[in-house]
């Protein structure tokens, strides 16, 4: 990991993203007041608002050539982007949770301490998990095309799932049914206690995250950086 790259990613956040985050915060709190619960899954939204185009924008803005003229491994670059998005989103999610719990305390619906601790851990898992998927998708398309790609995958997955509903293709059905899990690892745990998560689910989570990161590094290693062919 390269701290210079991580710090540059922090500093680059555009005001539009901050405005979107503020909207998410505010609408989130209406839900909290209505349903008396604060969910760590909001972290996934923060990942996408903060991280869309995290690599794609470097490609479209043409800054990669100068960056990779330096003694930096492409794997280092990928990990730094992953860490930057994961850390920023986690910090925001913790802030969101803290303010949400304050609202619940004020409404006389205080959550249990164990539940709060679990939510903090789940926030980290969801943010870093989703960030891994985002980083890979961002290596595939320029600009913020990764956002469009994510929605396209979700939509295609849903359509295909309906189409194969009548077939007996268990592996295909399992894959399509779990697209959300692949794109947002850890999201399904947000109403559960840490002790309720099975060993298989834990292994699955870490396996998905490492697969995304490996694919992202592979894509960056293969990527050719030139405007010569245009």
């Amino acid at each position: 990991m390269n701290l210079t790259l991580v710090w540059a990613a922090f500093r680059r956040t555009h005001w539009i993203r901050l405005a979107l985050l503020t909207i998410i915060f505010i609408t989130g709190y209406f839900t909290i007041a209505a349903e008396k619960t604060v969910l760590a899954g909001e972290g996934a939204w923060f990942v996408w608002v903060l991280g869309a185009g995290i690599i794609g924008k470097d490609v479209s803005e043409g800054v990669l050539s100068l960056l990779f003229s330096r003694p930096i491994k492409r794997a280092e670059y990928v990990f730094s982007k992953w860490m930057a998005v994961g850390l920023m989103a986690s910090a925001l999610t913790w802030l969101y949770l803290a303010v949400g719990w304050s609202i619940l305390w004020h409404l006389n619906e205080p959550p249990a301490w164990t539940q709060m601790g679990t939510s903090l851990v789940l926030a980290l898992l969801i943010c870093f998990g989703t960030s891994a998927a985002l980083v890979f998708l961002s290596t595939l398309v320029p600009g913020i095309g990764d956002l469009a790609l994510m929605f396209l995958i979700l939509l295609a997955g849903q359509l295909l799932e309906w189409w194969v509903a009548g077939q007996s293709w268990p592996l295909v059905k399992w894959f399509l049914h779990n697209i959300v899990v692949f794109l947002f690892p850890g999201m399904g745990w947000q109403s559960m206690g840490l002790g309720d998560i099975s060993l298989l689910d834990w292994i699955g989570y870490f396996s998905i995250v490492t697969i995304w990161l490996t694919l992202a590094v592979g894509m960056m290693n293969r990527k050719e950086i030139t405007y010569a062919n245009s």
Binding site: T37, A75, T214, V217, G218, N221
Partner: protein, 177 residues
């Protein structure tokens, strides 16, 4: 260009530790899934609530003594399973529900079968079910109250108690589980 460049001096190195970790985790994941399939866990989260059929529930409800408790859920829904384990799988709570309500399970089968039974479909429309789990308490006078989502056993029991407290005295047990 090598696909898996493990030269530590190369800027295009694929770190061996990442490759190794990814491979091992993937193997462990596949292995655990195969093992779990071959050795299914003993029937956990045993549901101790005596769920009624739709028609039996309707007939009992018409007597006006107890409210119906509809449980709208789905097999794929994690929080639904959690509620099933914490609330319906707890002997004391299950006994209290059996005593105080007419419990009806409206299980969504859209994912598995592509459609629901006519009764479940009608109930989902009637109560505008948007998420799972949703608990609906239908009072003898026809009005109803809803709880969307699952937070904790305590909150769910509290919700059910509040609904019973709204009932006229003598028509159902307002006792605690």
């Amino acid at each position: 260009m090598r696909i898996l460049n493990s030269d530590p001096h190369s800027s295009k190195e694929m770190p061996s530790w990442l490759m190794g970790l990814t491979f091992l985790l993937f193997l462990a994941w596949v292995g655990s899934a195969i093992y779990n399939n071959a050795h299914p866990a003993p029937a956990a989260a045993q549901d101790l609530v005596r769920w009624q059929t739709f028609s039996d529930a309707d007939n009992q409800w018409k007597r006006g003594t107890k409210p119906i408790l509809y449980d709208f859920s789905a097999a794929w829904c994690g929080p639904c399973q959690q509620m099933k384990k914490d609330v319906f799988g707890d002997q004391k709570t299950a006994d209290w529900i059996n005593q105080s309500f007419i419990p009806v399970s409206a299980l969504d089968r859209q994912q598995e079968d592509g459609k629901n039974s006519p009764e479940v479909e009608a109930l989902q429309k009637q109560y505008d079910i948007q998420a799972f789990p949703t608990l609906v308490v239908k009072f003898p006078n026809g009005s109803f109250k809803t709880q969307v989502g699952y937070d904790s056993q305590e909150k769910t029991i509290q919700f059910l108690q509040e609904q019973l407290a709204d009932l006229k005295p003598g028509s159902a047990s307002a006792s605690t589980p």
